[in-house]
């Protein structure tokens, strides 16, 4: 069998995986900048990307702590966001082969992007190649981007350059594609409203936890987009 890196049928998928990884690396720069702007050290910022390695949870934890929230509320919101990686794991376990040790390594790489790139491929071999290429390239780019952003962010005054808005602007870009599903729109509307209404009356960080009430409201509606179901 042709090795995967020389197989012409796999080339378009590999190019797509590497392009995505490079784009996520740029996002990593914004995480690094925003994290030091919110009061983390360069070392802590890099540790988050190396060890946690799931973007939305990292952003959420740093944002809540930066605003003055407790460890408990920062952890709660971040873990709620990390829970969906468990569902991605279910989808990937049917597609990945290899030893248990290899699977423990694969687990750390099981996130939105690697799962999406893998399940989009037509054959089992292409799915595995897409998963590992995206996983390794994205891990490298995300962490390199984080380091560059953290170093740059600690060299300048973040507010002068509006860098305190890097997080919410990034969140806007992250959440927008989800709004193609009307249940997600409703969950977002209710979640955002609950957050703003409870900010003055609850400890910092708690409104983020309360926003999951939006999920219960969103669930009442039927899905209306073909790609809105969680990947199977």
């Amino acid at each position: 069998m042709t090795p995967w890196w020389r197989d012409p049928t796999l080339r378009p998928a590999i190019v797509a995986c590497l392009t995505l990884s490079a784009a996520v690396g740029v996002f990593g720069v914004s995480f690094g900048v925003g994290s030091v702007a919110a009061g983390s050290t360069v070392l802590q910022t890099c540790a988050l990307s190396l060890l946690v390695f799931t973007g939305a949870s990292q952003f959420s934890a740093v944002s809540v702590i930066g605003a003055g929230g407790s460890i408990g509320s920062a952890l709660g919101g971040a873990l709620l966001l990390a829970a969906r990686n468990g569902v991605y794991g279910l989808a990937m376990s049917r597609r990945l082969d290899g030893s248990l040790g290899r699977k423990f390594l694969a687990a750390q790489l099981t996130i939105d992007e690697t799962t999406a790139m893998a399940v989009a491929q037509p054959t089992r071999r292409a799915q595995q190649v897409a998963f590992w290429v995206t996983g390794v390239a994205l891990y490298a780019c995300w962490n390199l981007g984080t380091l560059i952003g953290a170093l740059a962010g600690s060299a300048i005054d973040p507010k002068t350059f509006g860098l305190d808005v890097a997080f919410p602007a990034g969140f806007v870009a992250m959440v927008w594609p989800l709004f193609s599903d009307q249940r997600a729109r409703l969950a977002a509307l209710v979640g955002g409203a609950v957050c703003l209404l409870t900010v003055p009356f609850t400890p910092i960080g708690v409104p983020i936890l309360l926003s999951v009430l939006g999920v219960l409201v969103g669930l009442q509606r039927p899905a209306n987009a073909p790609n809105s179901e969680v990947i199977q």
């Binding site: 060890l51 966001l81 099981t110 002068t160 919410p168 870009a173 509307l189």
Partner: protein, 99 residues
């Protein structure tokens, strides 16, 4: 940021990944459970946008950030790439602060 939070988050996030990929393996969850997990990002990420745009501590505020985020929303709506959304949002906020 504290190291306690970093370690707890790292362990918790990895635990979710391992639970799905290795412990539960090929089994499936009740559909309603998977739908719940699918909707969590929309609710929480929107709440984070609201918090980071309209609050300082426990106070609701309206300042330069609101205009920056409004421009970011328009950019996202026009399907601009992620980096363009971020640069526009931060640049507009910085400009408004200079006025």
């Amino acid at each position: 940021m504290t190291w306690t939070l970093i370690i707890l988050l790292a362990v918790g996030a990895y635990a979710f990944k391992v639970t799905g990929l290795i412990i539960l393996g090929g089994r499936s969850l009740p559909p309603v459970f998977e739908r719940c997990l699918g909707l969590i990002p929309a609710a929480i990420i929107t709440a984070l946008v609201m918090k980071d745009t309209f609050t300082v501590g426990q106070d609701l505020t309206l300042d330069a950030r609101a205009l920056g985020i409004a421009v970011a929303v328009i950019a996202a709506w026009k399907r601009a790439p992620l980096i363009v959304v971020i640069v526009l949002g931060t640049a507009v906020t910085a400009l408004v602060r200079q006025l």
